[in-house]
Amino acid sequence: MPLYTIATRKPLPEQMRFDIAQVITDVHCGLTGAPTEFVNVIFMTGYHMRRGAVLGLNGNVRMGGDRNADLYQRLQADMHRRVAEAAGLEQARVFVKLIGVEPHWVVEGGMILPPPGEEAGWLERKNAVHAEMGIASA
């Protein structure tokens, strides 16, 4: 988490998929401070978009913690602009929607996810737990 899914009618080239995922990771982590290892991006093809759109981006992102409405607005606006650029599309052809998700209902790395803003302590605890279990870094 976050889980970003990108839907298009036709497949995007592999390099463009990779580049868009880097942009999404840059924007998300740059604005929220979340670690890059949290960010997942899935590309889906064969979908008919709503009128005017060529690419539909949904972001299921953790809510609460140190995030407020202003941050979500900036995240939505920056994501919209940067993903449109990376895909070579006008912003009007890109649909972006962020969906808030409760972090304490999700387990990743074997542990319940932290509220936004408490990632550093969570990562330390997770690495310590993995070390105790003899699990190396992924």
Partner: protein, 149 residues
């Protein structure tokens, strides 16, 4: 109740999928309740998923649970499921994600993820998914479909 599972192409064998689904149903019945659970596997094509800036080897499992499920019960269920899953697949803990969402929230999130599609797109998506899932169920005993249609 529904469970949607995203995996990577070529990562988990059909036998493992069957074993994982049986395990998921068993844990769900034991920790959550005797609800009918519909499990849909969604396979991402090679090089269509990225985690932590690299092509992904991750699996993502989401489930509906009854509204208001106590947090300690939910947490114990998710952690138990995570451990059991990794025993079957051998994945690193950083390569798995498990979510148990109140049914009402799950519906909201599911619906919000459909807003980008046209009306035809929604119908087409559901028809394709259902058709593929039913064919897979008849052939393999589990419902498997693909992100890339």
């Amino acid at each position: 109740m529904r469970s949607l599972i995203a995996i990577q192409e070529g990562q988990i064998t059909l036998d493992q999928i069957k074993e994982l689904e049986a395990m998921l149903r068993q844990h769900y019945a034991q920790h959550i309740g005797p609800h009918k659970l519909t499990v849909l596997w969604n396979v991402a094509a090679t090089h269509h998923t990225i985690t932590d800036r690299e092509w992904s080897r991750s699996s993502n499992v989401t489930m509906e649970v009854p509204d208001g499920l106590p947090e300690d019960q939910r947490q114990h269920f998710l952690e138990t499921l995570d451990r059991s899953w990794r025993k079957v697949t051998g994945q690193h803990p950083d390569q798995t994600s498990f979510g148990a969402f109140d049914q009402s929230r799950y519906r909201e999130i599911f619906k919000a993820n459909f807003e980008r599609f046209s009306a035809y797109g929604r119908i087409s998506f559901l028809t394709k998914t259902l058709t593929r899932a039913m064919l897979s169920k008849a052939r393999h005993g589990v419902m498997i479909t693909q992100f890339n249609q």
